[in-house]
Amino acid sequence: MSILSLKNISYLYGANTPFEHLALDNVSLTFTEGRITGLVGHTGSGKSTLAMLLNGLEKPTAGTVTLDGTDIWEKPHEMRKIRAKVGLVFQYPEYQLFEETVEKDIAFGPKNMGKSEEECRELVRRAADFTGISEEMLARSPFELSGGERRRVAIAGVLAMNTDVLVLDEPAAGLDPKGREDILGGVRAWQREKNKTVVLISHSMEDMARYADELAVLKDARLVMHAATSEVFKKPEVIESAGLCLPQITRITNRLKAYGIPEGITTPEEAVSEILKKLR
């Protein structure tokens, strides 16, 4: 079922100035409830602009953004209600922490949404579980933590708001493999358990292979493909023309078609299983 959709969306920066730039050009895209959709494309392809349109931080120059069947710009003064349903996490969110303790920081969002103390405590506890934040860490100052830990606190703060849709702009950028797994694995566990809708922006096709159910590929402000992740990975020409790289494993196994290996393999584990089937 569709929960959030964009219809014929265009977005123009700096209209009628020398800096005029079309960031999105007639994009129509539907996000399905309970799925993780990866939004991929080169720098400047329009990914972050699209993210800001999803919860009304920016207003499209043309086209409509629909949430649960309603145009989000129909009643602009009620945008707060939209933002309570669509959460947005910018890049490097750890720089936005400010409270005395990790617990207070995670509770800030739900508290502002009018949740009771007791509800806040429960929301904080669940969000901390998903992101691997211990009781001991909840009592510490966020400023004593490592970069990776601070990032987890920032993500936990958004999970605690329990929005129907969560948009994450490069949530794992700059982290090591363990840090990436902590963040993206935590988000996926939360999404699966609560049947949430997640929009994930990343340059890492390896992360997309692991976490995204479907992919939307943007190139030069236009949507060039939207399909299941494994289907997109069967089209290396689409990925490469959008300035991205297929995972190494997909590039190799796509060249083994003559040996009966299917195209669109996304992980080494899947490749091993397919190769061993042929060896039997």
Binding site: D176, R255, L279
Partner: protein, 289 residues
């Protein structure tokens, strides 16, 4: 064999801790890096990689042990100026490294501060922009460039100071694949054409796979040190300390867990290259046809 250019002996560094507890960011690290080599440094967040980078050009001084840069000890204050001229650094975020509103002025900033003659600065700026393939952008404003282009300007700014070595501290982390490719291509040119020593700190295993040597740090200590082939054949060790291996190495390691594949003896540790892996898989699958 080239002469050692960077030498650390029993190098340790502890960050000041309010609780009085001693935490070693680096512990008893002895390394010798040859002039003109390309060394990748791997390790998870907090393993000591960036601390090592800062110790190499004297931003930090050792708590114990020594760092020698081209024969100069980083501890005495009077050596710092020469050390910083010898080793340039390129950091993660290009936006934090550019200071001027015009590209060529930004590149000139370093040599101007070294007190170089204007004519010589002009020559160096042109040369540095050419080396990173950005000569056509000299009159542009940095904010109109892509992330990869900005990072290349940051590299040109370092090159204009004519260092012998550049340390790249996760300099591709914020770039898209195209930008990363631009930077890796530039790094190869600097190494091959200008003979620069390159230290590349990265989380991307594929970037490390093309270095001459890979050093792996964990909890401030040296865990592995060898050619990419040698290091990436230690799949289990790398996994244990929370690192990835290139997907080719992972695939071959997993395949070798199968008795029939193991018995075939086709897969031996440390194969990296995509074409090499493909040829090996074709051989394996061809035998099964």
């Amino acid at each position: 064999m080239n002469k050692p250019f960077l030498v650390t002996e029993h190098l340790s560094y502890t960050y000041p801790n309010e609780g009085g507890e001693v935490h070693y960011a680096l512990h008893d690290l002895s390394l010798s890096i040859e002039q003109g080599s390309f060394v990748a440094v791997l390790g998870h967040n907090g393993s000591g990689k960036s601390t090592l980078a800062k110790l190499l050009n004297g931003i930090l001084v050792p708590t114990a042990g020594t760092v020698m840069v081209n024969g100069l000890d980083t501890r005495p204050e009077e050596n710092i100026f020469d050390i910083r001229k010898t080793i340039g650094m390129v950091f993660q975020n290009p936006d934090n490294q550019l200071v001027s509103s015009i590209v060529e002025e930004d590149v000139a900033f370093g040599p101007e501060n070294l007190g170089i003659e204007p004519a010589e600065i002009r020559r160096r700026v042109d040369e540095a922009l050419k080396a990173v393939g950005m000569e056509d952008a000299k009159d542009r404003a940095p904010h109109t460039l892509s992330g990869g282009q900005k990072q290349r300007i940051a590299i040109a700014g370092v090159l204009a100071m004519q260092p012998k070595c550049i340390v790249f501290d996760e300099s591709t982390a914020m770039l898209d694949p195209r930008g990363r490719e631009e930077i890796m291509h530039t790094i190869h040119r600097l190494k091959n054409e200008l003979g620069l020593t390159v230290i590349l700190i990265t989380h991307y295993m594929n970037e490390a796979a093309v270095a001459d040597r890979v050093i792996v740090l964990n909890e401030g200590s040296l865990v592995l040190d060898g050619t990419p082939r040698e290091v990436f054949s230690e799949v289990e060790t790398l996994w244990k300390i929370g690192l990835d291996v290139p997907q080719t190495a992972e695939l071959l390691h997993l395949l070798n867990q199968n008795d029939a594949v193991l018995k075939s003896g086709l897969i031996k540790g440390g194969v990296l290259d995509e074409d090499e892996t493909l040829a090996l898989l074709e051989k394996l699958l061809g035998g099964a046809k």
